[in-house]
């Protein structure tokens, strides 16, 4: 689509500002770093403010179904800010991925509680799952209870309700499980700002959310997740660029501003260009998703490929160009490195994504 609007609307800018103000206030880097030592004090209050006070929980849900009636573009704008703060909140997992699954599944009762921020939801798949590689491994036993275990699930730690793809004879159903009915074991994660968990569902009772096409709903949800995570990755890259430029401008070595050394200037210029391209890819994915444009699938794959790698590169350059200080626990750079690297692997890694894209745009990898 050549006429997709790739700029920010006034509404989006205002939304970003309000999110940014709240995060500046309540999401200080030292508190985020503390999550790595198991201090999760920050999260519940922060998420409540975002979900309820700012009404972000139901951003993607139409007003008539209990939400704010915004589009993927606004959700992307929010994710950009969340990425900029490496904020440890389940917006992506609950308000984007799980919400999209519920929207597709058509369970309006459950959807309304999630949209209202009363309950937080998570789709129970390994976070590394790419939309086209979804495999349901959970089954229903003779007693009607679930059997199965799913590892490395994002958002489960924060969830009140779990959405589980369940394999049945003739396809995949989507079931809702109360978090209390499953054994959720938090996992020491590379990115503790989105801590994963292993979810053991053996014996859990569940409610069927959708009978047929549960896989389609989850795939669509994961695709939207990847498309909008690109904006989170943009936020990460932008923070890394801004912070590095600021640091090098201020730091003096050899009697000169370090930011004046040409080799570093050129790397920062390249990083700037890359970050602007990241914005293009992320905005295009968000816009085509918002418009349900036929190009949304290509856009999502492009965004996952491009923004995954660029966020990692920005974070790696940020650590390197900070020198020793960027290697320390106290400096927030590592939050972004870990988030960027985990996001790269999540929802389909860039190489697998490009292979899939080749099929979609008629440039297939040949069979060997």
């Amino acid at each position: 689509m050549n006429d997709a609007n790739l700029l920010y609307t006034d509404v989006e800018t205002a939304l970003q500002e309000s999110v940014r103000d709240l995060l500046t206030d309540r999401c200080a880097p030292e508190k985020v770093i503390a999550t790595y030592d198991g201090d999760r004090e920050l999260q519940p209050k922060l998420w409540r403010s975002l979900a309820l006070d700012l009404g972000l929980a139901g951003l993607l849900v139409p007003e008539e179904r209990g939400g704010a009636g915004a589009s993927a573009r606004e959700a992307a704008a929010v994710l950009e800010e969340l990425g900029r703060f490496a904020a440890p909140v389940p917006f992506l997992t609950s308000s984007v991925i799980a919400t999209e699954a519920l929207l597709r599944a058509g369970d309006d009762a459950l959807l309304a509680t999630v949209a209202g921020g009363e309950r937080t939801a998570a789709v129970v798949v390994p976070f590394s799952t790419s939309p086209d590689e979804l495999r349901a491994t959970v089954r229903v036993d003779g007693q009607g209870a679930l059997r199965g275990r799913v590892t490395s699930v994002a958002g489960a730690v924060d969830a009140d309700v779990l959405l589980v793809p369940v394999e049945v004879a003739d396809g995949v159903e989507l079931h809702a499980v109360e978090a209390g009915a499953a054994r959720i074991t938090p996992v020491v994660s590379l990115d503790m700002t989105r801590q994963l968990a292993d979810v053991d569902l053996d014996g859990a009772s569940s409610t069927r959310v959708v009978e047929d096409g549960g896989d389609r709903a989850v795939r669509a949800a994961l695709e939207l997740g990847a498309a909008l995570m690109a904006s989170e990755q943009l936020g990460v890259a932008q923070w890394c660029l801004d912070t590095t430029v600021g640091y090098l401008r201020d730091r003096t070595q050899f009697g000169r501003s370090v930011g004046g050394f040409q080799a570093l200037k050129h790397r920062l210029a390249d990083l700037y260009v890359m970050t602007e391209s990241t914005r293009t890819a992320a905005r295009y994915a968000a816009t085509t998703a918002a418009d349900d444009d036929p190009d949304r699938h290509v856009a999502a794959l492009m965004a996952k490929s491009y923004c995954s790698d660029s966020a990692v590169r920005a974070a790696e350059e940020c650590v390197q160009l900070h020198g020793g200080i960027g290697m320390t626990w106290e400096h927030p750079a590592h939050l972004y490195l870990k988030r960027a690297k985990a996001d790269q692997v999540a929802l389909g890694n860039p190489q697998a994504t490009r292979r899939r894209l080749g099929e979609v745009v008629d440039l297939p990898m040949p069979t060997t």
Binding site: L7, A269, S305, Q351, P366
Partner: protein, 397 residues
């Protein structure tokens, strides 16, 4: 009627009058173009009397549509890119009334082609280092020096020329800007052959070339300021129009991959797709840039676009030769030619590969563009330099 409708109605009336007085079907092409200029319909954003009507640049598109629909000839702008894109706006901004009247009409009609005498062997990225000397002799200037990278020099009637008129002041302050007659006996044009085999550009040797002081553009010593205005106009040109997916260099490789399955290799697929993604993101970034400009948020992204474009054309053409294997070892033609119009894509893959190398050099090297981004956008300190405040003649060379 809105203002816009009024303007359009008026333009329609003028175009109709022009077409009635000069039927494109019967009148000579040049006569038509002269009449179009005199009617103010050449570039409507120019002032009245100089081919325009003092309107906004966007209205010219409407005029062109009307004229094209009527089968009117155009002025073949690609043949006089430097004249139209760089010389004309500079003359308009800095020229005397007499200069404007003398030069703009034949420039626009294409009767007089223009070229640019800026770069020198020792003044590439550092354009302010021009060493071509202009020495005053009464009311003319005697010019000596060597210029390079001059396209269309062998077809040009006039050149915009940057020369040093005062070596005793710092480099940026001792230059003046002239209009040079390319038919002067002191001007010698030699083709400058490139690695592709052809000669897109020329070297121009100035040996006691004479330029009347009346052909000076801007004040004596203000050449740097005038030249920068010219270069700004060059940069505006970059960006261009919306293009469809795969319309750029990536389209060739994609076409090869689709139509020649025997050349597909799994080990090349990830690189192909990485470049495909980058090319598509670059294309969409062009769209975003145009949207920003349209929304009144012009930014410095043009430099970034050019950087990306150069890198991608180079990487993509490099991959193309590898994919082609045996065919990549062949070339179409090394014969020296002097093409009228540059075409990055029109020839074979080997040509595209070699020609793409120039994309990161011409119109500002990628290194200079990175400096510009770092200093103007990211506000990082400028390079330390020792050539700004000392007289030109004392700068180490």
């Amino acid at each position: 009627m809105t203002t816009e409708e009024t303007v359009r109605a008026d333009l329609k009336t003028r175009v109709d009058a022009l077409l009635e007085a000069h039927d494109p079907a019967t009148v000579e092409r040049l006569d038509f173009l002269r009449a179009q200029f005199d009617a103010g319909l050449a570039w409507v954003h120019f002032p009245e009397g100089l081919g325009g009507l003092g309107l906004s640049r966007a209205h010219q598109t409407y005029v062109n549509e009307l004229l094209a629909a009527a089968g009117a000839p155009d002025n073949d702008p690609r043949r006089n890119g430097i004249g139209l894109g760089m010389a004309a706006p500079t003359i308009l901004a800095y020229g005397t009334e007499e200069q404007k009247r003398r030069f703009l009409r034949p420039l626009w009609t294409g009767e007089e082609v223009w070229c640019q005498l800026f770069s020198e062997p020792g003044a590439g990225s550092d354009l302010a280092a021009v060493a071509t000397r202009a020495v005053r002799d009464g009311d003319t200037w005697v010019v000596n020096g060597q210029k390079v990278w001059t396209s269309s020099a062998h077809k040009a009637r006039w050149a915009i020329l940057l020369a040093r008129t005062d070596p005793d002041v710092p480099k940026h302050r001792g230059m003046s800007y002239f209009i040079c007659d390319m038919t002067d006996p002191g001007v010698e044009v030699r083709p400058l052959r490139q690695i592709t085999g052809e000669a897109e550009f020329n070297e121009v040797f100035l040996s006691d070339a004479r330029v009347p002081d009346a052909h000076r553009l801007g004040a004596e010593g203000e050449g740097w300021k005038v030249a920068n205005a010219t270069l700004m106009n060059e940069r505006v040109a970059i960006g261009g129009n919306a293009t469809p997916r795969e319309a750029s260099m990536i389209g060739f490789v994609a076409h090869t991959w689709r139509t020649r399955p025997e050349l597909r290799r799994p080990e090349a697929h990830d690189q192909l797709m990485s470049l495909w993604v980058e090319a598509e993101v670059a294309r969409l970034s062009g769209t975003r840039l145009r949207q920003k400009i349209a929304a009144g948020q012009p930014g410095p992204e043009g430099s970034g676009m050019k950087l990306t474009f150069a890198r991608l054309t180079q990487q993509i053409t490099g991959l193309e030769l590898q994919l082609l294997g045996e065919e990549g070892l062949r070339y179409d033609d090394w014969t020296m030619t002097r093409p009228d119009i540059v075409d990055f894509t029109g020839r074979d893959p080997g040509y595209r590969y070699l020609r793409a190398k120039g994309n990161s050099i011409e119109g500002g090297t990628s290194e200079i563009l990175r400096n510009i981004i770092a200093e103007r956008v990211l506000q990082l300190p400028a390079e330390p330099r020792a050539d700004k405040d000392i007289p030109w003649k004392d700068i180490p060379r």
